[in-house]
């Protein structure tokens, strides 16, 4: 299978794991999608570093775009790439992030390290929590 094919399978697979295996239903939650929006912004930057500097390179037969060039960076946009990285990386990243967060919620629901809960941010009072 190509990277494109595996990536296109990995996303629905992890959605099924979230919905029906771990039953965390994160894809139905605003907290997940807002977090993902923040994460994907930084993913584009870090992926751009990995691929723009040629740290990771790709076979043109495995991705929608063409192979990473022998020298110099690949296309920044276009030719199946977004910020130097193959668009497949966005699917890979989504699967990794969703599985990570789904497991985190799953183990919390089991009662493993459910506390201390998040917050409050340092700019908010924490003295009133015992009112």
């Amino acid at each position: 299978m190509t990277y494109t094919q595996i990536a296109l399978l990995a996303v629905p697979l992890m959605v099924l794991v979230d919905l029906f295996v771990l039953r965390t239903r994160l894809v139905t939650r605003k907290a997940f999608w807002v977090s993902y929006a923040i994460i994907v912004f930084f993913q584009l930057i870090t992926n751009g570093m990995f691929t723009g500097f040629g740290i990771v390179q790709y076979d043109g037969d495995a991705i929608i775009g063409s192979a990473s060039p022998e020298t110099g960076p690949p296309a920044m946009f276009g030719d199946g790439r977004i910020a130097f990285a193959p668009v497949e990386d966005l699917l890979f990243g989504f699967a990794l992030i969703l599985f990570s967060l789904s497991l985190w919620v799953f183990f919390g629901r089991l009662g493993i390290s459910r506390r201390p809960i998040a917050g409050p941010p340092i700019w908010r009072s924490r003295t009133r929590t015992s009112d």
């Binding site: 239903r25 994160l26 907290a31 990771v56 390179q57 599985f99 919390g108 459910r114 506390r115």
Partner: protein, 124 residues
Amino acid sequence: MLGLPANLAYAGVLVFVLVGSLWLEVVLRTHVFARLPRLLLVLAVVIWPFLLWDAYAIHEGHWWFDTDRILGVYLPGDIPLDELLFFLVIPIASILTLEAVRSVRGWPVGDGADEEVLEQVNQS
């Protein structure tokens, strides 16, 4: 780059990810590392499908690494150590982000602490 050995390039990107996310633990009090057993369980599970995927992709030649820009230590399956670190750092950064969003907004995620989190947001 920055006078550092080129072999630290991949690891340097991971440091960038950590610098960009670890401050949330302090400033937004995400308490992710205060819940270490839960974090370690996530990491112990999440790496496997992606290490397998990585090993297959490396074997098939879907992707490869500039040997001058990675640490040069390899796991079974010809997986660079840098990749394992990636599969640890990205989940940590993702969880920090989710808990940061919860810290500020109090939106539910279904982990059994939603009411407590919302109460805390409403109180402060």
